[in-house]
Assembly symmetry: C2
């Protein structure tokens, strides 16, 4: 058996089932081994940013790693922005990166680069295989490393000769650590704080935004009056009818400061204290009031569910949480196709248990609040700020959950980063409805330009933030990659097209010619 | 004046005229300063890989740097593969990368990463600005660093507060070093070697592939019988009718070994000794015969023209070089649309002084030999092996040379890496004709799979190398980004469409449904 085949057996035994791949010459033995594996599903992506973003979306839904297959340092580089997002999402992800045969590196052939240096920037754990005998062990260690805490990005490098050389050394899967337990001291301390009468925010992130944890948090809110606030960009927020609602901290720093005004103490559960996304001249970076005390109940790598339950029980809280959302019927929207109108149509037609991926940027700000009482669903966002993850996330989520409807709410500018995803969606016939918010602009940057005080923009400055001249035609782009697509220019048209997409199945795209009132 | 405005003045004085940009919030003051600059042309790209590839193409044609504008570590990461190619092309390139305000870094906001760690991997020179007073100096140093030798990738990091803070400290441009002179010892030694009667290859790369250097090399060949061979992937090869032809070293290692068989000595001029692109089990990585002696006349950072002329003069060579190519008339090709047929049509219609960008992968192997006697032109290739540079290179070359026709010969698989380039081509109305070689496959990988001996592939393995299911429709994709496009399915159709494109101007795309005989 060669190193590649041996490695595949180890990865299969460790429970890895899906490989998102964009291979090159140095990975041909890995490709062959995957081809011969019965368990490992292989999904070809046309760009590495699709590979890493899809692996993130998969992991967010099943809490276990997908495998990626990437080609040398430059292939890995193309995946790095979405690896960054995955790190910030705290998901398990295992990167398998090919490299030249070790004895070939001395020649400094054209594609040679320091693969490990690339990997270290966006991995919590990284190492290179040392021999064909070691390759499977490197894979086993990577899977284990990816499953520490809530999840880590783990990268192992597979030199070509370690894949093709023969080996008889096998490797067993290694026990992963998983979420750490929260100590009794911490739950006691939090219970005490919640009884001290101060104005309290439970600031929730990571796994604390799953339904069961939110239920426990809602019990605490009911018992103590504490506010439930979640991080601006949750990896996966379970929300909608029947679930406990949280306030989502606003993106713009001044709005976030206003939202937290008067807070005397903040208890972190699976989150870090909130900070501004960017610095702005003369504006605060720290968002909580200066006098607000910050306490930690659970870090992102600790088990929030057991901790929140323990606190709720200590408080003698009822089983009925505060803030449970009723379902809300909304009328058919009419007229201008605004983000709010889109949100109404989504709320009207969203099937139960849908997965919504939100990289809608400025439009998302309008859609999110409207959809809080749609049927129960998961809401996935851009955790690390590196745009171009929405379509890949939707692909990965759909692969992880083939029986659930996936909706990608996607801004136009960021869609163009990883538009190649549409091809893989068509190839795999995933059940994803992509809604492109076509406002022909990097709208967020037009807002930010004013907010940073960079002076009155002239036409040349604005041209660097503008997506018109020429207009992008997303219907043509989608059809060019084998995806059925339609265009909606009014709220009524969108409502019909979206309802139709929800009633059907398989990949499709709606280009929403959205009209925005800027905040 | 703020730091950004001050910096722009310095960059203008240093002769930088074009900025390829994909900015974000932390670069808004840089965007504003560019907007107010009269000299600096701003070209928006929809992805950072387009930005860096276009800057490479620009530099290859004018031997001076374009500026890039990139957003933090993740934005830079998206540009890295083409930065790698630019390093391997030995071109001057100046990256301007925004970062968070320095005082904001401590918050570890979502987009925070180690920008300098990214930069160092693919830059010959990198540093961060230390203050608003220092920002312009950092820019001046970067331009200077980019113009060392043949050209270097130089990256400076501009924290947002250094851009927006006021400063009165200006910075003058710094004298660049440029190409080093070759010492008399080296020219004397090369002259002696060329007279020793051994079978000699002049192995040419970098600037040695410009017309005047090739003329001098042709004189040497005429006087001594030395062979002229060029590196497999030249950054810019001046060739065609009236110029001195060089043999291009074959890509596949076994063919390269055969081509160099019997060579007793090799003299390097602007190149390194040839090595295999990848390792293959049991095949050589070093391509010259073991007994072949390797000598260096000029490194890539030295002036090949003066050195080659000095050697030719010492040898008493005639002014008439060997290997000067006559123009060749070719008939209209007919029937199957093969790479050779495409090469025939290109040769027939290519206007004088055209620029051909070749990322046609396997198809390029067929086209290149056929076009050697087309009208004089420049041939640009993928120097670093990181695919996805062809379209950006063509964009950058067209911006650099608005009066010359640019032809991008582009493989389908690699086109999908940076297809967003088409939008910028449409916006800037550059005179580029894109020819997509649609063979619905990563054809090169199907060949490499066999060459690495990875066993008989099954359907699943082959599916990872296959671009059908669904078929990509490049006419629709081009039209979706505002580019006029047609499809050619026979040699006759292609001949007509290509001739029409050469007769007209402005951006257009031809999807060539190419049929290949695999080597």
């Amino acid at each position: 058996m060669n190193g590649a085949e041996n490695l595949l057996h180890t990865l299969e035994h460790a429970g890895v089932e899906v490989c998102f791949a964009n291979p090159g010459t140095s990975e041909m033995h890995l490709v062959s081994a995957i081809g011969r594996s019965e368990q490992m599903r292989a999904i070809l992506c046309l760009y590495e940013g699709v590979v890493s973003g899809a692996a993130d979306g998969y992991a967010r839904m099943v809490d276990k790693p997908a495998l990626t297959l990437l080609h040398l340092g430059s292939g890995f580089a193309n995946s790095m922005a979405n690896q960054h997002n995955a790190m910030r999402a705290h998901v398990p992800l295992v990167n398998m990166v090919g490299d030249h045969a070790t004895y070939h590196l001395k020649y400094d052939a054209p594609l040679t680069s320091d693969v490990l240096a690339h990997a270290r920037i966006v991995s919590d754990w990284a190492r290179a295989s040392e021999s064909a005998d070691d390759l499977a062990l490197a894979g086993a260690e990577a899977v284990q490393a990816s499953l520490r805490g809530a999840g880590k990005v783990a990268t192992f490098i597979a030199p070509a000769n370690h894949a093709w050389d023969e080996t008889s050394r096998t490797a067993e899967p290694l026990m992963p650590a998983g979420l750490e337990a929260v100590g009794q001291d911490a739950t006691e301390a939090a219970t005490k704080l919640l009884g001290n009468g101060k104005k309290t925010v439970l600031f929730l992130g990571g796994r604390a935004l799953r339904e069961a944890s939110l239920h426990a948090a809602g019990r605490i809110a009911e018992a103590t009056g504490a506010r439930l606030v979640c991080e601006v960009f949750p990896a996966r927020l379970q929300r909608g009818a029947g679930r406990v609602a949280v306030e989502r901290l606003p993106y713009f720093a001044e709005a976030a400061v206003a939202a937290l005004d008067g807070t005397e103490q903040m208890i972190l559960v699976g989150s870090k204290a909130p900070v501004a996304f960017f610095a702005y001249p003369g504006k605060p970076g720290w968002l909580a009031p200066e006098s607000c005390e910050i306490h930690t109940l659970a870090t992102v790598d600790q088990d929030p569910l057991a901790a929140l339950k323990a606190v709720a029980d200590r408080l003698g809280a009822n089983d009925e949480p505060a803030l449970a959302q009723p379902a809300l019927g909304l009328p058919i929207p009419s007229g201008i196709l605004s983000p709010v109108a889109i949100g109404q149509s989504v709320t009207r037609a969203l099937p139960a248990d849908a997965i919504v991926v939100d990289e809608a940027a400025t439009c998302g700000l309008g859609i999110f609040p409207v959809t809080g009482q749609a049927a129960a669903h998961d809401w996935l966002t851009l955790t690390g700020g590196a745009i171009g993850i929405g379509l890949p996330l939707a692909l990965g989520a759909a692969v992880a959950c083939p029986d659930r409807k996936v909706i990608a709410l996607q801004a136009d500018g960021s869609a163009m980063y990883t538009l190649q995803t549409l091809w893989t969606m068509a190839r795999e016939q995933v059940d994803v409805t992509v809604v492109i918010m076509n406002n022909r602009s990097y709208a967020i940057l037009n807002i930010e330009l004013a907010r940073v005080g960079a002076g009155q923009p002239n036409a040349k400055t604005l041209s660097m933030l503008d997506l018109s001249h020429p207009d992008l035609d997303f219907v043509a782009l989608a059809e060019g990659m084998g995806i059925r697509a339609t265009r909606a220019t009014t709220a009524e048209e969108f409502d019909v097209q979206f309802a139709e997409a929800m009633a059907g199945s398989g990949p499709r795209l709606i280009e929403a010619m959205v009209v925005q009132q800027m905040p």
